[in-house]
Symmetry: C2
Subunit: 380 residues, 2 copies
């Protein structure tokens, strides 16, 4: 097609709860860190894509803090896929030949409480709203129960997802939580919606992440290919139909659609992927996404987890960052934080949690509403 | 550079106040009308860019009403430049070679009252907020007073902008208002912030507009070049500095920056432009933008208006639609409604308000915050 696009710089702040933070302040920190990561300054950036779910003009307000250069700024929102969408639009702008160096930055100031952003303009699943099952834990509990019914997946298997991701996060200094969380603690924590306990829910945190994207040509010219990572595939999808089981439509089907697009564009298959950051907004989702992304066969998600395949040292480690369950989930930042995690492994810079020999990694986010983004990244 | 991009279909609803409307319902109407305009269906659309300032996931919610096909949907916001930004991102996605047919749709459900969107996340000009001058009429009154001080522009000249645009709107069946508004009525209406009276403020209305963009190659294949319009230039800019007169930075300088980019890309100059839809959010702004867009010399805006150059039949008619002052200004829709107006003239389909022989047209929107988008369109 057109120009190859590299990620040449990326970073994220340690996720946490910052009472005085604003989205622009959070975004500014990550943006400066990502620029510093590749030795560039805001003056080198030719366009900015900002992802944030709750406030207005966050991209421009970020530049007020780190330098107003007059470049095009676009603010995007796409529920939980907001950050990934900002990244994708930056990639598209370079592919179009308009720019060589584009900054994608995602940020979110979350409140405590349920994973429903402010100003959401209605429940994500209107027809279920009146039944009281429009809260996120209920939606993803239903997803888990459906998997249990069809394939016999157990409460304990779902809980082990959380144990694994919390274990991974003990190796990630940028994660909100960094402590082992044993199975009995996960299973014994407050029940939100069976089979989801409180420790099987993603963590509401404030956060930000950024990536500097660059045309391959310019990266070579700048001598920045040594730590560069190629964007090999990008898929974005919305619901392909409306008159079916809503969870299936919003989460499973849309993931399969986006993954297929990304795999086809990248000319790789699931067997080529060395590690994955996927959307474990609730523990049940991770097991379903193993199958949605083709990492294992239909109905084998629970056994795939049990085999250790998705744990550090396994065949395809999943959510090495600790995932949304332990690293945390600041909506607009999450998609780019996933990019940061994969890039860090592909560079061989992930320290204690390094997936050895990683050459190809995948990111996945899915927002109810609906938007699913899948990216496939490759070591240059 | 890359693929030529055409606008092959476009339409807008008549702007007005619709108590029961929601942004997705407004957007759905315009989208279907634009598709109908080129004889395509939602099944032909490969990606959707939605512009809306106040609600979430409007693009996806629009597809729930007109057909969920699973295509990528991106929601963008950029203050008053929101619709134009959605249009621009659609153009970029085709230029990148990712898609042949992309829908851009903008919508807004405005309340009555001041032109400050809900959820604005703070005043647009924080440092002026405490002084009470952060309302839009005050900002644009200051812009006008500055022009008066420097060039002697009069209250009456500013008021004549509104007279002209209201006159144009009498010829536009899609405008909110369609009645002549004499000078004495404009000057005698309630004073908002000198030199801006109530009839010199843009009209808060609900509205939507849509455009179907298509690669030149595909348009030829579909036999849709007969009424097609080429996107010849696109400029998007944000504030180039922070420590200066804020109105100058936000409105004038950013317009010049975006216009320069668009002119350079299009390889045309102001003298080549046959008509313009520019951001007359207040009457004072239109006169300043004549100069910002290079339609006349510095300080000559008032006299340029007096000469009749910008009235139907003049050298370069401005705001033939009636502009924001009389057609109305539903934030997320405005940028695409401008595209609709220019395309309609370039096609020779503007009826009583047709600018005869128009071959090149320009659109301009500028949002405080800040974002300015300029597009140059050309008859194929």
């Amino acid at each position: 097609m057109s120009e190859d696009v590299y990620v040449i710089g990326t970073d994220m702040i340690r996720f946490g709860r910052f009472e005085d933070a604003t989205p622009p302040r959070l975004a500014a920190k990550a943006a400066l860190m990502a620029l510093d990561d590749c030795g560039l300054s805001i003056r080198d950036v030719q366009a900015v894509y900002s992802g944030n779910c709750t406030e207005t003009m966050v991209g421009q307000r970020t530049l007020q803090l780190i330098g107003q250069t007059g470049v095009p700024v676009v603010n995007v929102t796409n529920a939980c896929a907001t950050g990934a969408t900002a990244f994708r639009e930056a990639w598209i702008a370079i592919k179009a030949g308009l720019y060589d160096i584009v900054l994608a930055v995602g940020s979110e100031k979350m409140g405590k409480g349920m994973l429903v952003p402010k100003n959401s303009g209605g429940t994500p699943i209107p027809s279920e709203g009146l039944a009281g099952s429009n809260t996120m834990p209920a939606v993803f509990a239903q997803m888990g129960m459906e998997h249990s019914r069809a394939y016999g997946t157990t409460f304990e298997q779902f809980a082990r997802v959380s144990v694994k991701n919390h274990h991974h996060s003990t190796l990630n200094p940028k994660a909100m939580y960094q402590k082992e969380t044993p199975l009995e603690e996960v299973m014994g924590s407050e029940m939100m919606a069976y089979p989801i306990t409180k420790l099987m829910c993603s963590v509401n945190v404030d956060g930000s992440a950024a990536a500097v994207l660059c045309s391959a040509r310019k990266a070579r010219e700048l001598g920045l290919t040594g730590r560069a990572v190629r964007v090999r595939g990008s898929g974005l999808a919305s619901d392909p139909f409306s008159e079916r089981n809503l969870v299936q439509a919003d989460v499973n089907t849309v993931t399969r659609l986006a993954a297929r697009t990304a795999y086809e564009m990248a000319s790789v298959g699931p067997q080529d992927v060395d590690l994955v950051e996927l959307h474990d907004c609730f523990a049940t989702a991770e097991i379903c996404h193993y199958e949605n992304l083709g990492l294992c066969g239909e109905g084998e998600g629970g056994r795939f987890l049990d085999s250790g395949a998705t744990t550090l040292g396994g065949k395809v480690p999943v959510n090495m960052s600790g995932g949304l369950l332990s690293k945390g989930h600041p909506l607009g930042a999450t998609g780019i934080a996933n990019i940061y995690e994969i890039v860090t492994h592909l560079r061989g810079e992930a320290g204690a949690r390094q997936v050895e020999g990683a050459r190809i990694g995948m990111t996945h986010v899915v927002g109810l509403g609906s938007a699913c983004a899948v990216h496939i990244l490759e070591k240059v």
